[in-house]
């Protein structure tokens, strides 16, 4: 048994992961379909499946729109006796200069509704975004299965 440092914690227990290259709008449809199927498979309710697929759609569209190319991985995450879904989206695009601003409802630079990031955060249980201007963006989001559902 090995101990985990704080930095390793995020990736602990990730298994059964599917990687999807995100290079065009068609990959958005593929990613959300895979996400929904996995969510159904591990026992999320149908409303939660739709929420997960919608969040995937928003985050994948950000990649296509701003970075053009990137990758999404969708997998099962376990923490103690909790199970959930983890989605990691990575790109090497232009990055987000002001994350706090980008996380505000209605703030948009891409001609959209400005709901993608804050809306996705509302639909998931955990949402992390790391972005460096000129280097890229990484979004990690998780949703846990409700025990008594």
């Amino acid at each position: 048994m090995h101990s985990l440092t704080a930095k390793q914690k995020g990736t602990a227990g990730v298994a059964d992961e599917v990687r999807i290259p995100i290079n065009s709008e068609y990959d958005i449809v593929t990613a959300r379909k895979i996400g929904r199927e996995l969510a159904a498979q591990i026992g999320f309710s149908s409303a939660e499946q739709v929420a997960i697929a919608t969040a995937i759609s928003e985050i994948a569209r950000n990649i296509v729109q701003f970075a053009r190319h990137g990758e999404m991985s969708i997998g099962i995450v376990r923490q103690g006796d909790r199970r959930g879904i983890v989605i990691v989206a990575r790109d090497e695009g232009p990055g987000i200069p002001d994350i706090n601003l980008a996380m505000q409802d209605g703030y948009s630079t891409g001609g959209g509704l400005g709901l993608g990031l804050p809306g996705s955060k509302r639909m998931m249980d955990e949402f992390d975004i790391i972005s460096t201007v000129g280097k890229g963006t990484k979004v990690t989001m998780k949703k846990w299965i409700r025990k008594n559902a």
Binding site: E25, Y26, I28, V29, R32, K33, R36, S46, A47, Q49, V50, A51, A53, T54, S57, E58, R61, D105, G112, L113, L115, G116, P118, G119, S120, R122, M123
Partner: protein, 124 residues
């Protein structure tokens, strides 16, 4: 996947059959706006029962279809938004704003009949 558009008397009915890419949605918009003019339609129904995701792009595109159709003097009603989809849309913060919605195709047709056949002219 191309969305079939049926013409039924003065109405056009676009019935989405499967998940749509962004491109499919934009093509639907183009076809609908063109056909409203061609057939002098007074109403458009978009049936989204088969859609299990309505993200911000889909919502924005449907909204723009309704606005364009209105500029051509016709009414649009969106029918068949699934309960789970409605739930996710509200969580995401999406609104259809002034776009009419109805439970299903039947209700949508009834809505258009009231809207377009009532006094012959659409009110403000």
């Amino acid at each position: 996947m191309l969305v079939p558009i049926l013409k039924q008397s003065n109405y056009l009915i676009a019935s989405i059959q499967s998940e749509l890419s962004d491109d499919d949605l934009l093509r639907l918009r183009e076809n609908l706006v063109r056909q409203v003019s061609k057939f002098r339609s007074t109403g458009v129904i978009i049936d989204v029962t088969a859609l299990d995701v309505m993200d911000s792009f889909a919502t924005r595109t449907l909204r723009s279809i309704a606005h364009m159709v209105r500029l051509r003097g016709a009414e649009t009603v969106i029918v068949g938004i699934q309960p789970e989809v409605a739930f996710a849309m509200v969580q995401l913060g999406l609104r259809l704003e002034d776009i009419a919605t109805a439970l299903d195709l039947e209700e949508g047709l009834a809505f258009l009949d009231r809207k377009t056949k009532g006094d012959g002219r659409r009110g403000g």
